[in-house]
Symmetry: C2
Subunit: 194 residues, 2 copies
């Protein structure tokens, strides 16, 4: 029963999300998630601390990818464009899981405790982005602002990507990130009327 | 015992913050807060739902002031400058309560539950700013980005204001908001290296 299972974490995440969507988050137990995935509870707890963390497993991976993306960005890029490049690189694997992401957002939107957890994760992500920008030699204030602005671009692009139905053109997350980043620059540069 | 008490909510807020700082948030009861303020528990519950809400009473007032400030901003201002004007107007009464704000931040920083609450309040504030900008005729995407950017300016300026000790020059919150807003514009305009 403790043998290695191929893609166990992915199977558990999909099973959990199915059950949260069908029955509600509060009504679902770890036992049921493991059963739906065809795995044991012991395997579940090898990957996740509890049923809440199943929904936030991807947040840690996203943070690692974004920090790596900023580290990898050419020195010639401005701070905001370095974040933009990191966001677009991190978007690629996410494009594959649009339906998963949509259902995840719906589960979180229905539960205040999960919303709080999401906000905590986003705040941690902002701090990680700021620290990655500092490593590029950026001063504190500029790094904090660029991190917050970059995170806003991602949050807003991600929400639009999740909300967009196929018949509205089905733009990619990368396209929506580019559009949001360009719009942020316009907003920040604007000196005329709204 | 139920007579009107002058500035009861202010006295309760100060008493609560003193006790949270002295004994810790978890160790303080509503009974103790009311006693310290020289008021009854009944008066406490006339203003606050629970001991947590005492710390967030100001958030609602800030939100009202910011929305009003955006409504009042001249049409000739860009969205971000309209938020900037609203932030600077809202900063004025806050300048008076720096020590209170500093202790409040310390209590919140020491307690994950309070940090979550703070993030929820900030998310609500972002939504309120976005809606106020939409009322000025701004499109959804630009309004969302300007609201998030404006909120980042405030958060970062506020944190610096709270952190700064008197001997670092003791800049006002309004000055720090102006500086953060200018830096955000520089960051967003930058196309060169970090």
């Amino acid at each position: 029963m403790s043998r290695w299972e191929p893609n166990a974490s992915g199977r558990l995440q999909r099973a959990a999300l199915e059950l949260y969507s069908e029955r509600g988050y509060d009504q679902t137990t770890v036992t049921e998630i493991a059963k739906r995935a065809g795995l044991t509870e012991r395997t579940f707890f090898r990957y996740f601390a509890d049923k809440r963390e199943v929904l936030f497993y991807g947040s840690g991976i996203l943070q690692e990818r974004l920090v790596q993306g900023i580290d990898d960005a050419p020195d010639t890029l401005s701070p905001l464009d370095a974040i933009g490049a990191a966001l677009i690189a991190a978007a690629e694997p996410i494009e594959e899981i649009r339906e998963f992401s949509r259902r995840r957002q719906a589960v979180i939107a229905a539960n205040p405790e999960l919303q709080e957890r999401e906000l905590i994760k986003l705040a941690a992500l902002s701090t990680a982005l700021r620290d990655a920008l500092r490593k590029r030699g950026l001063a504190d204030l500029a790094a904090s602002l660029a991190a917050e602005a970059g995170l806003a671009v991602f949050k807003i692009a991600f929400q639009r990507w999740v909300d967009e139905s196929g018949d509205s053109g089905g733009r990619t997350l990368a396209q929506l990130i580019r559009e949001s980043l360009a719009e942020l620059k316009t907003v920040a540069a604007g000196s005329g009327p709204a």
